[in-house]
C-alpha cells in the first residue's frame, strides 16, 4: 500500500545524475532554487556545507523546518534571489541551479 499520493523521483535519478556530474565530496555548494529542500537533502551529506536559497520565503521556511538534525550542522537555507547573491566573490566550489535558470 502506498502512503503518499504523489512520489517524485523515488529511484533517485536526479541526485544520482547530480552527484555523477561533479565531485561533491568536501566542497562548498550553493543551491539556487532550493525550494522546500527536497533535492538538497538527497545530496547534502556528500558536501562540506550547502547553502540553499530560494526567493519564495514559505518554501525556504519549509526547507529549514524539514532539515534533519544530521544535516542541520552543514546545511543552511536563506531567502535570496539568484540574481543578487548575498555572498562575497569566490566562496563556492559548486553552484547548483535546480530548475532555476
Amino acid at each position: 500500500m502506498s502512503i503518499v499520493a504523489t512520489e517524485l523521483d523515488p529511484a533517485g535519478a536526479e541526485p544520482r545524475a547530480i552527484l555523477d556530474a561533479a565531485d561533491f565530496r568536501d566542497v562548498r555548494v550553493l543551491e539556487a532554487g532550493a525550494g522546500d529542500g527536497r533535492l538538497t537533502f538527497r545530496y547534502a551529506r556528500e558536501a562540506k556545507w550547502v547553502v540553499g536559497i530560494d526567493s519564495k520565503e514559505p518554501e525556504i521556511r519549509s526547507a529549514a523546518g524539514n532539515c534533519s538534525s544530521e544535516l542541520r550542522g552543514h546545511v543552511r537555507f536563506l531567502c535570496a534571489s539568484a540574481t543578487a547573491l548575498p555572498f562575497p566573490g569566490e566562496t563556492f566550489d559548486i553552484v547548483l541551479l535546480a530548475n532555476s535558470l
Binding site: T6, E7, A21, A22, L85
Partner: protein, 142 residues
Amino acid sequence: MVDALREAHRVLLPGGAVVDVRPLTARIVVELVTPERAYWAAEGDAYGAAEDDASADAAAGHALSSGWFVSARNDRFDFEVYCDTAADLKTYAEMGRRMRDSKIPYDDLEKRRCELSASTGHAARLRCHRPKMLSVYRKPGP
C-alpha cells in the same frame, strides 16, 4: 537569467562548476504500473515553458561566449513521478506552467487504471516520465 549566471560566476572559485538541471521541453510518457509490469498509457506535452527554456539556453550561450564558463558536460536523464490516481497526476501537472496544457486524457487514464487494478488485484499507479537535462559549466581557473 544572464544575471543569475553572472552572479554564479562571481561567487564561484576558479575551477568551480555550475550544475544546471532543468526539465526539457519535450513529450512526456505516462504508464500504468503494477508490481509486475508497466503498460504504456498516454503521451502529453510539456511545452508550457518553451519560451523560458529558450531564454535559459540563450543565457547559457551568452555565458559561454563571454568566456565566463566552458561547457564540460551535458547529460539527459529520466525524472519519474508516481501518482496514485489520474486526479493526483492532474494536480501535479497543474502546479507548474510546463505541463498545464499537456492534453493528457485524465478521465480515460483513471478508467483504465481502475480496470487494471480490478483485473490484477493490485492498486495500479501512474508513472510519468519527464526528461531532464543536466549541464555542467566550469569556471576557468588554475
